[in-house]
């Protein structure tokens, strides 16, 4: 990575170095400010977060981290979010792998229609198909007894289509960069196309698949609009459940911050560990 990153062989002038220092410091401050507020406030007792803001916490306490599980059923929301985001990720990646393989390795009628249509669904405002989807789910439930509205299944189906277009697009770029000779050689050796896909193409595309999985999981973990309409008390996810810390009179801000931190940790850690792959995947897509 450093090979191409370094720019000029000659020393940068002071004006550039200072601009860089100032710009980067300001940006880092802007980015980290809420993170600091989140962490520091989560360690304060309630009366401290209810009064004037304090930069440095006085009465340090970890009590909010225990209370968050009592005030709202955070554990249940957590499990719901894990099930929904996990299933949506697995399904979305598997489906994207199949689609990308077809587009990358075969020529067939309607290929262009498929890629263009799938990508253009990205631009639809969520609100446009929220109302109809809500009605469709309700009506499917009424006529077949298949509970999509209010269930995790409905949410999983919805979320997996959110990450599908980008995942397919990114994996096509990745698969295209894998030499066709590899899977053709496997087919000569007697593999069918599907076995060639899983034995040759998928192993060679692991970084791309990891990147796509991270993206799919983050998308599902963070979605609010559909979660707010499509879930009930039993299936509520974190996105909606986190609002349960505010009552009519009071907001338990220390608990809100503690809960925000707890629900962020899985995705942030995963993302930061795997960000290399995401950048590499984007680069592969951009090369096309």
């Amino acid at each position: 990575m450093p090979s191409r990153a370094a720019r000029s062989p000659m020393a940068a002038p002071q004006s550039f170095l200072w601009t860089r220092r100032v710009v980067l410091t300001l940006l880092a401050g802007f980015v980290l400010l809420p993170v600091y507020v989140m962490i520091s406030s989560s360690l304060k007792p309630l009366q401290e977060v209810s009064g004037k803001f304090q930069w440095i916490p006085h009465g340090l306490t970890v009590q909010p981290y225990f209370d968050i599980w009592e005030t709202v059923p955070l554990g249940r929301y957590f499990v719901n979010s894990l099930i929904v985001a996990g299933s949506a990720t697995v399904l979305s990646v598997v489906i994207a792998v199949f689609s990308a393989y077809a587009v990358s390795r075969y020529s067939f009628r309607g290929k262009r229609v498929f890629t263009v249509t799938v990508l253009s669904t990205q631009m639809f405002p969520g609100i446009l198909f929220l109302l109809p989807l809500f009605l469709i789910f309700v009506n499917i439930g009424n006529s077949t007894g298949l509970a999509l509205y209010g269930s995790r299944g409905g949410l999983i189906l919805t979320y997996l289509t959110f990450s599908l277009p980008f995942s397919i697009w990114m994996l096509i770029g990745y698969f295209d960069s894998i030499p066709r000779d590899l899977d053709e050689a496997a087919m000569v050796d007697g593999c069918g196309p599907i076995r060639a896909l899983f034995r040759v193409v998928v192993p060679a595309a692991v970084p791309g698949i990891v990147a796509v999985s991270v993206y799919a999981f983050m998308t599902a973990w963070g979605e609010v609009l559909f979660a707010s309409v499509m879930t009930n008390d039993e299936t509520r996810t974190l996105a909606v459940g986190l609002q349960g810390y505010s009552t009519l009179n009071d907001v338990y801000w220390n608990q809100v911050m503690a809960a925000s931190l707890v629900v962020s940790v899985p995705v942030v850690v995963g993302f930061l560990l795997l960000q290399r792959y995401l950048v590499a995947g984007l680069t592969a897509g951009a090369v096309k």
Binding site: F53, P125, S264
Partner: protein, 336 residues
Amino acid sequence: MTATVTTDPGPATSAKGTSRGSGGARRRMPRIPDRIRQGGLPYLLLLPAVLLELLIHLIPMIVGIVMSFRQLTQFFINNWSAAPWTGLDNYRLAVDFDAPIGEALLHSFFVTCVFTFFAVGLAWLLGVAAAVMLQENFRGRGVLRTIFLVPYALPVYAAVITWAFMFQRDNGLVNHVLHDQLGLTDQPSFWLIGDNSIYALIIVSVWKGWPFAFLMLMAALQNIPRELYEAASIDGAGIWQQIRKITLPSLRPVNQVLVLVLFLWTFNDFNTPYVLFGKSAPANADLISIHIYQSSFVTWNFGTGSAMSVLLLLFLLVVTAVYLFFTSRGRKGSRA
């Protein structure tokens, strides 16, 4: 891609002259079993994706368009096909700018335009600045890159709820700094209701959105060949000149896509205002998505809500088409 459209045997066998036919057939011979085996396989591979896109996106979109021509209120939720047809009434209601509903929609549209302009512009600007400043290797570069991606990685609701806390009037950080520490305001101001809410919304949206611009631009910068910079510096170009003459121009193709994507996401953004303000956004930050959501789910009038959604989609389609037309033409022009 277009040269190998051989899956359809019709034109290949009928249209071509017989003299070349035998040669072509012999040349293609070994591939025929392949083709037969391929058969419907690509379609089979695409089937799950197509079915899901149909179920979740395309059919609902069509249903939405149908709904916009019906008088769909809460009485018909469970049996929406019984809702009476109303022709263009829902559209008339939505664009009658003298009546309260149309006037509110128009206002919301203007607010969204202003918000999108500033939020996209600032996010893009910060993304370019950070990507350019981090292009060259130096100590701490990796750490900074990781830090800059944190807002992208945080779940929207966790990040926005933290900003909501910071913008609280009595116990928030923003007023503590502006009022108590710097003394810039006479009174602690309200940020989440009233006139200031649009500023709060833009700040949060930029904070949340700029790392994506940064990520895309950073990936694009890695594809600029190093030789360009070496040649330029041999010719005596300073670093500022290199940025202006090499780096920024080579970002153009990425910018074309990036600005469009940022525009569409920001214009349609629901999550940020919904978490920041709750179900009823203040008038000055009443983004179009929230507005439609409220008109539909608070008043349970799905017909009018659908009409508004369809109008929104038409607007986005027109803007996208015009944008792509002009930016593509510009690129061709500069290349010639």
